[in-house]
């Protein structure tokens, strides 16, 4: 067991901090998310230059072979500095699916432009109504369905679309401008961009099925787990920022002739917020490190962390607003942007309630409930 950052982790954290802190400007952020295109291509180019877009991919695919811990370090910084660029959509979800399912040729062809920052990916997975289906046709497939909340789809050149084939599921590589594809973009509560995507008889060649794999269900699950762990680190960045902002505010805001932080009733509430930050951070790290463990422990850790951090996120953003008083309810301060980021966190990839139920079903097996967090390797 080792739960400490090594020197490379610290370097990565420091370089993310340096870049994003120097660029952070809340007014500019508000303008960015209120306007079009809603992200900063120039920043994306810097991500590419820093090697962040290839971080989790194998060296033979042009990446730098980083793991979930490295991703979590970047994501925490993204949460701290309200980054809305589609890193999770492109690198963790889209890139993760290609890395997991693609053949060597596909990995090379599809990941190279992603790593270079020339193109972006989005994973169209959640179905709006009926399941999306892929019907075999001569020489390929026809895909029909409606996908909801496809993160990063407005800026993605390539969609990875999950679709049912008799009882199993495959992932199809679909250009976002392919005939039959309609992308309906919108802004989300936290300022990020997503889209609903309609697919009507989209005709694809046989090679569009990623890795030729008609049974990609478990790979999809793992990639979504990776995304939840990454997003949890993003939430930690936002939670910690809200706690720090509230503590700073309480120290400087004077009422009745003394700073708010001198009142014991408020001190105890600030401690409760900080305790939630620490617990959430521990849960996030658990989720991150469980990704490479046995599947049942991974599911337990991911569902548990999403539920636990979701609860902490809600408590922290509510208390942060309350302790700031009236100004906390406005969009004058960045506080509101963090609150909205945390609201989005709670909902994405399954709500707190859904994950709590999933965790409960796992833990109802007493032998799993009795298991500590450390386990034999592999």
């Amino acid at each position: 067991m080792n739960l400490q950052f090594d020197s490379e982790h610290v370097m990565l954290r420091d370089s993310a901090e340096k870049l994003l802190a120097s660029r952070f400007d809340f007014r500019a952020f508000q303008k960015l998310i209120d306007g079009e295109p809603g992200w900063t291509p120039e920043l994306w180019t810097i991500f590419a230059e820093l090697g962040w877009l290839g971080l989790p991919f194998a060296e033979e695919d042009g990446g730098s072979g980083g793991g979930a811990t490295e991703i979590s370090i970047l994501m925490e910084a993204f949460g701290k500095y309200l980054v809305v660029e589609p890193y999770l959509a492109t690198v963790v979800l889209g890139g993760g699916l290609i890395a997991a399912l693609g053949s060597a040729t596909e990995r090379k062809a599809l990941l190279e432009p992603v790593i270079a920052g020339r193109s972006r990916l989005a994973f169209a997975h959640d179905d709006a109504d009926a399941p999306t289906t892929a019907v075999r046709r001569a020489g390929g497939y026809a895909i029909t369905g409606a996908k909801k909340v496809v993160l990063g789809a407005p800026m993605a050149e390539t969609l990875l679309v999950s679709a049912r084939l008799d009882g199993t599921v495959g992932v199809f590589v679909v250009p976002s401008d392919a005939p039959g594809v309609i992308v309906r973009p919108y802004r989300m509560v936290n300022g990020e961009r997503a889209a609903d995507v309609d697919l009507t008889g989209v005709t694809l060649p046989a090679r569009a099925l990623l890795g030729g794999n008609e049974d990609a269900g478990s790979a999809i699950e793992l990639v979504i787990h990776r995304a939840i762990a990454a997003l949890s680190a993003d939430a930690i960045g936002a939670i910690a920022t809200m706690v720090r902002a509230t503590v700073d505010y309480a120290k400087t805001r004077v009422q009745f002739g003394q700073p708010l932080a001198s009142f014991q009733a408020l001190q105890h509430r600030l401690v409760a917020m900080k305790v939630k930050e620490e617990e959430a951070r521990a849960s996030s790290r658990l989720a991150t490190l469980a990704l490479d463990g046995p599947p049942d422990r991974r599911l337990r850790a991911i569902a548990g962390a999403k539920a636990k951090i979701g609860r902490c996120a809600r408590a922290v953003h509510q208390e942060a607003i309350q302790l700031h008083g009236a100004i906390g309810t406005t969009n004058e301060l960045s506080l509101g942007a963090y609150a909205k980021r945390l609201v989005a966190y709670e909902i994405k990839f399954g709500t707190t309630r859904e994950h709590l139920a999933r965790y409960g079903a796992m833990i109802a097996r007493p032998e799993l409930a009795a298991e500590g967090l450390l386990s034999a390797a592999g």
Binding site: R285, L286, K308, A357, G360, I363, G372, L374, S375
Partner: protein, 394 residues
């Protein structure tokens, strides 16, 4: 970063499991399962303590020169998890965790030679004389006085909430030896035998029917100065040193997880499919996971020579709450079976029912007992005050 046990760790775990399999017989496990107090009956735990001592494991966290094991932090964690899983008794840690380290750090060579081996073997059982009727969280206001008389002190006063004083042969106490200057500057740390003339122990029975706490009265008790640890009037520093151990010194994730696994079985049997109960159970599980992870993070820092720092107050605060929430949900899960009261103690001697019925009868008693968790060892409010300074920087 990783959460994996090394091959050596696995081998150690298996060694601990073998030890526990042969030294925690079913009767001992049952007695532990039916204990509603936070401590097991010494009549039970002493057998386990002796077995540990024979194996060289009774004071694993002590320096090797005094009988410790030189285990790594992960080995301590494994030992704790396995003890919880095996249902091994929890023995009074006043000697091994509190006064033992104090004697090692501040005691004379004679004190070390006299007391440490007897703590290690289980021969001595120590009570802690800190709180007084008028001084609970505000410890420095204590009034029990020790007046110098040649080579002895004459002690007068009263201690309260003295855990297991009725099962102990010795007591370490904070006594006032001066009323000058700051309150903290007149306190002395004193070791005494509990069979001295003038000492009276009166039981305090808890809401749950357990006899854990006592009042201890000192009426002109003559006790030798050789029992003083450190200098006269310098006991406050020692008291604070000890509190660090009390609040964060021991790892309890394994014990709480074992309680939680019991809760899961009980909920599964009593209210399967009740979404309200299942959601609360899941919340407790995620709290437990987060705290275990936080504890492991501290362990990882200790492994490389770090210090737990303010996190020990956080661990005390949240673990006590989580343990309470386990006891509380068990109460809510068993319906009107929670109404029956069993007055006789210990339960393991006074019940003879199928296992599940026996465990059900312990639920209400344990719930009532658990309300003390957030009070003893520094109340949650005091821990929060400490965290306001140390963790939040207020």
């Amino acid at each position: 970063m990783d959460l994996s046990l090394s091959a050596e760790d696995i081998a150690f775990r298996d060694e601990v499991r073998r030890f526990l399999a042969s030294n925690v017989p079913d009767a001992m496990r049952r007695a532990h399962d039916l204990t509603t107090s936070f401590l097991d009956d010494p009549a039970i735990s002493i057998h386990f303590h002796r077995a540990l001592d024979r194996r060289g494991w009774s004071v694993p966290h002590w320096p090797v020169e005094h009988g410790g094991t030189a285990w790594t932090p992960v080995q301590h964690y494994i030992f704790d998890v396995e003890c919880g899983r095996a249902g091994a008794p929890v023995y009074n840690s006043s000697g091994s965790h509190f006064v033992g380290p104090v004697i090692m750090h501040y005691g004379t060579a004679e004190q070390k030679a006299k007391y440490l081996p007897r703590i290690r073997s289980g021969e001595d059982h120590w009570a802690q004389g800190y709180s007084e009727p008028g001084s609970g969280s505000d410890l420095a206001s204590l009034k029990t006085r020790a007046d110098s008389d040649g080579d002895d002190y004459i002690v007068n006063g009263q201690k309260i909430w003295t855990t297991h004083a009725h099962k102990s042969n010795r007591i370490f106490a904070l006594v006032r030896t001066s009323r000058e200057g700051k309150r903290q500057a007149g306190i002395t740390f004193l070791l005494m035998d509990l069979d001295r003339p003038g000492i009276t122990v009166r039981p305090i029975i808890g809401n749950g029917g357990d006899h854990e706490f006592n009042e201890v009265f000192f009426d002109n008790v003559r006790t030798p100065k050789s029992g003083r640890v450190g200098e006269e009037n310098h006991g406050w520093e020692i008291a604070k040193y000890l509190l660090e151990f009390e609040r964060g010194g021991s790892v309890i994730a394994g014990r709480v997880r074992a309680q939680f696994a019991k809760l899961v079985r009980m909920v599964g049997a009593r209210c399967p499919g009740d979404p309200g109960v299942l959601a609360r159970m899941a919340e407790i599980g995620t709290d437990l996971d987060a705290m275990e992870m936080l504890g492991l993070t501290v362990l990882s820092e200790l492994q490389t020579g770090g210090h737990p720092g303010p996190i020990s107050s956080l661990l005390k605060l949240r673990w006590s709450e989580i343990r309470q929430s386990i006891c509380e949900l068990a109460l809510d899960a068993i319906g009107d079976d929670a109404l029956r009261w069993i007055g006789e103690r210990p339960l393991y001697e006074n019940l003879q029912l199928p296992q599940e019925d026996e465990e059900t009868l312990a639920v209400t008693l344990r719930y009532l007992n658990s309300r003390a968790y957030t009070i003893m060892g520094g109340t949650s409010e005091i821990q929060t005050n400490i965290l306001a300074k140390t963790l939040v920087g207020l």
